[in-house]
């Protein structure tokens, strides 16, 4: 399929962009930074085209659905959302250092989708339960939420790196990382966006489950883990807004939150292969 061919190549473009961002931070050549932005944007355009192509090809083969229905497609969308949010952030903050921490996340998703031998890249027809308009709303909100959490995770890592070194350390790499209070604020804003979208994702999933199975909540492992993630970020928001926490402890909370996101996304699926009873309604993604 042409779409997989295109999307495979995007993996390398994102890796190249990551290298450029990294070199830019280590060596400090501005041209590398500008080039990194151009490469990322090119990758994003190609990525978007690849996604649209997949959509188009699914109609050509008579199946016809938005490319949001299995593990492969969700990974592609996740990486796309991360890059989109990152580009917004780069334009808003005028700081390219975040790219060094955001592009590798997108690259890893793309690499996993494209090169894991067990990944099914074929366009599959939709099972009856998936034939619903809620599918698009549910997957989009969830993965945009996850992407916002991913960016917040990257910012938190940057925060911890910047915090852990003494002021006299004058390395360029550190100097290019924005000041810690800026990182703190940006990370908080990303969690706010992620929390809203995760709430929307859980709600759309719940309404969908109600129309498909008659119950809006069944304590399915995927549902439960999304709720655990929601609890952790709810704690994050209360720590920040009510208790007044800032800085290191909050950055750590964001990292723990993202670990929960990863477990909700991947862990639940793969645990299922080891524990025979671990049956999830979300086995497809």
């Amino acid at each position: 399929m042409l779409n997989s061919f295109v999307l495979d190549k995007i993996t390398f473009i994102y890796f190249f962009a990551f290298l450029l961002y990294l070199v830019h931070m280590v060596v400090g050549w501005k041209k590398f930074g500008a080039l990194a932005t151009i490469v990322t944007m090119t990758g994003f355009v190609g990525h978007t085209i690849g996604g649209i192509l997949r959509w188009y090809e699914s109609y050509q083969s008579g199946i016809g659905h938005a490319p949001l229905s299995n593990m492969y497609e969700s990974l592609i969308f996740f990486a796309w959302a991360i890059i989109l949010l990152y580009i917004f952030m780069e334009f808003r903050t005028k700081s390219r250092s975040i790219g060094t921490f955001a592009t590798p996340l997108a690259f890893l998703c793309m690499a996993y989708a494209s090169f894991d031998p067990n990944m099914n890249q074929a366009i599959q027809p939709l099972l009856p339960a998936l034939q619903s308009n809620w599918l698009i709303a549910h997957v989009m909100t969830c993965f945009f939420g996850y992407a916002a959490f991913a960016i917040s995770f990257g910012l938190s890592i940057m925060f911890l790196i910047k915090r852990s070194v003494r002021a006299e350390n004058k390395s360029l790499f550190l100097a290019l990382i924005p000041p810690i209070d800026v990182l703190d604020e940006l990370s908080y804003q990303m969690v706010v966006i992620g929390f809203l979208l995760l709430s929307l994702g859980i709600i759309t999933g719940s309404v969908w489950a109600h129309s498909a199975w008659g119950t809006y909540w069944a304590w399915d492992p995927k549902e439960t883990w999304s709720l655990i993630t929601w609890f952790i970020y709810a704690v994050f928001l209360h720590l920040r807004l009510t208790v007044g926490w800032k800085g290191k402890s909050l950055a750590t909370t964001s990292i723990i939150g993202f670990m929960c996101v990863l477990f909700t996304y991947f862990g639940v699926n793969y645990l299922g292969k080891f524990l025979y009873f671990f049956e999830s309604l979300h086995s497809y993604a």
Binding site: P128, S199, V207
Partner: protein, 469 residues
């Protein structure tokens, strides 16, 4: 309980720390139910672990942990905590909501940047009038004060957004109330209905395996269809249902996955399907004459319950029962009763592939009268084919609490949006004479997002400047 004790209790319940502890506890304990199997799947797991451990699990209700006493207790405590916290903080919010700060406060103007002031020419009261008009159009409340120093304005907007946080927290209550109503007044059940048949009894899922519910109406499955994609994966399951009261059809509906049908507040969801024996079987009869010659008669479609004549007219027979897998292991079978012209009735089961069964079961078992298809001489019955038909498996639910849950969902989204993306904005404007010009200074505060507020104040200053160009 003494007054002091109740104070400590109230204080504990109104602490944000308790909320955080409870949220973390709920998150941590929720993991258990994703590792230990829940409900129906628990039985085989329980056999694999030691009896002592199993007893601990049973006592702590870990096989149904999301409905266990302690998990429900945690949710209850969190709810109480949430309510007490809200009650405790509400007066403060009300005070902020009702308060009208003085227009001539100095505080907001401390360290005011030069960009927030403009110099204009004109008469003081005329300038103040035009500024006041503009401010009134942009804000919801405005207060004016004139002193010897000059003219002062206070204005604010989005005051109601102070309550957004209560909206978020009360939406949690809506969702919980909805789920409680659902679990008390609602039910979850299922029913299998063969094509063409109707039923008014459904099985209820729950602790009692055999609990059932009689409906006030009956549901008929008129037709069931399953479609597949080219690669064999299922594409669509479709049941055509009709709802009948006293034998009269009140409503007809097609049910597919994701599109349930409702009747009298009870919803039917397409859930599974399967096959059951039909009402027809293809039977053939052979006849063995006294000198051992076997005559085969053509097979014919036999309907259950209908009486057919034997080939030679020396009696009648009918199919009494059908089973698509007799005793759960012997394959398709029909029960035939022969009613001879003279003599006693003879009843026996006709199994479909006797040759295969002879290899798997002891001969004396198959030779019993029960399976003797030649019990009524000179005839031998052969089961050629057992007709089958679909049954539709429907999930049957009633949940009167779902409206509360939906309301909670909408409220939480509205609440989160307003709580995070809007803020209570207050501005102070000072109009003072400065030489032969007039100075307008703009200061302000927001309950959230100070960076955005600075931007807005800059915009406001420019707009006021434009009034005098």
């Amino acid at each position: 309980m003494t007054n002091k004790d109740s104070n400590i209790l109230w204080e504990t319940l109104s602490s944000v720390k308790l909320i955080l502890v409870l949220l973390i506890l709920l998150a941590a304990t929720s993991i258990i139910g994703t590792i230990i199997p829940q409900g129906d799947t628990a039985a085989s797991f329980a056999k694999d672990i030691s009896p002592a451990l199993n007893r601990v699990f049973v006592t702590l209700q870990l096989y149904d942990m999301y409905h266990s006493f302690w998990f429900r207790g945690l949710i209850g405590l969190l709810t109480l905590n949430l309510i007490v916290c809200s009650i405790n903080r509400f007066p403060g919010t009300m005070k902020r909501f009702n308060s009208l700060p003085k227009p001539d406060r100095i505080g907001p103007f401390r360290d005011l940047s030069e960009q927030r002031t403009i110099l204009v020419r004109g008469d003081l009261s005329d300038v103040a009038g035009r500024v006041g008009e503009k401010i009134a159009s942009l804000f919801s409340r405005m207060e004016k004060k004139q002193t010897e120093q000059g003219i002062f304005f206070y204005a604010d907007k989005s005051r109601y957004f102070l309550f957004a946080v209560y909206l978020v927290h009360s939406s949690v209550l809506f969702i919980l109330i909805g789920s409680i109503i659902g679990s008390i007044l609602g039910f979850e059940g299922f029913v299998n209905i063969p094509e063409g048949e109707a039923t008014d009894i459904i099985a209820i899922k729950g602790k009692n395996v055999n609990s059932r519910l009689d409906l006030d109406f009956s549901v008929r499955c008129k037709n069931f269809n399953v479609e597949f994609y080219e690669d064999g994966t299922p594409k669509e399951f479709r049941s055509e249902l009709s709802f009948e009261v006293d034998g009269e059809t009140q409503k007809e509906a097609q049910v597919i996955v994701n599109r349930p049908a409702s009747f009298q507040g009870i919803s039917f969801y397409q859930s599974s399907y399967g096959t059951v024996p039909g009402t027809h079987a293809l039977l053939s009869v052979s006849e063995k004459s006294e000198d051992g010659v076997i005559t085969e008669h053509a097979a014919s479609e036999i309907k259950t319950g209908t009486i057919y004549p034997l080939p030679n007219g020396d009696g009648q027979f009918q199919i009494e029962a059908m089973d698509d897998n007799f005793k759960g292991m012997m394959g398709p079978a029909v029960q035939v009763t022969v009613m001879p012209m003279f003599g006693e009735k003879v009843t026996f089961w006709v199994l479909s592939n006797m040759e295969m069964l002879k290899l798997r079961f002891p001969p004396d078992m198959l030779e019993s009268d029960m399976f003797n298809a030649s019990a009524f001489a000179p005839y031998t019955f052969h089961l050629e084919e057992l007709g089958s038909r679909f049954y539709t498996g429907l999930q049957v639910n009633r949940d009167p609490g779902v409206g509360f849950v939906w309301a909670g969902f909408i409220l939480i989204l509205i609440g989160l949006f307003t709580a995070f993306f809007t803020s209570f904005k207050r501005v102070w404007i000072r109009i003072t004479p400065d030489g032969d010009e007039i100075r307008i200074s703009v200061a302000g505060r927001a309950s959230k997002n100070p960076i955005a507020m600075e931007r807005e104040l800059g915009q406001l200053t420019r707009r006021l400047g434009k009034l005098f160009q």
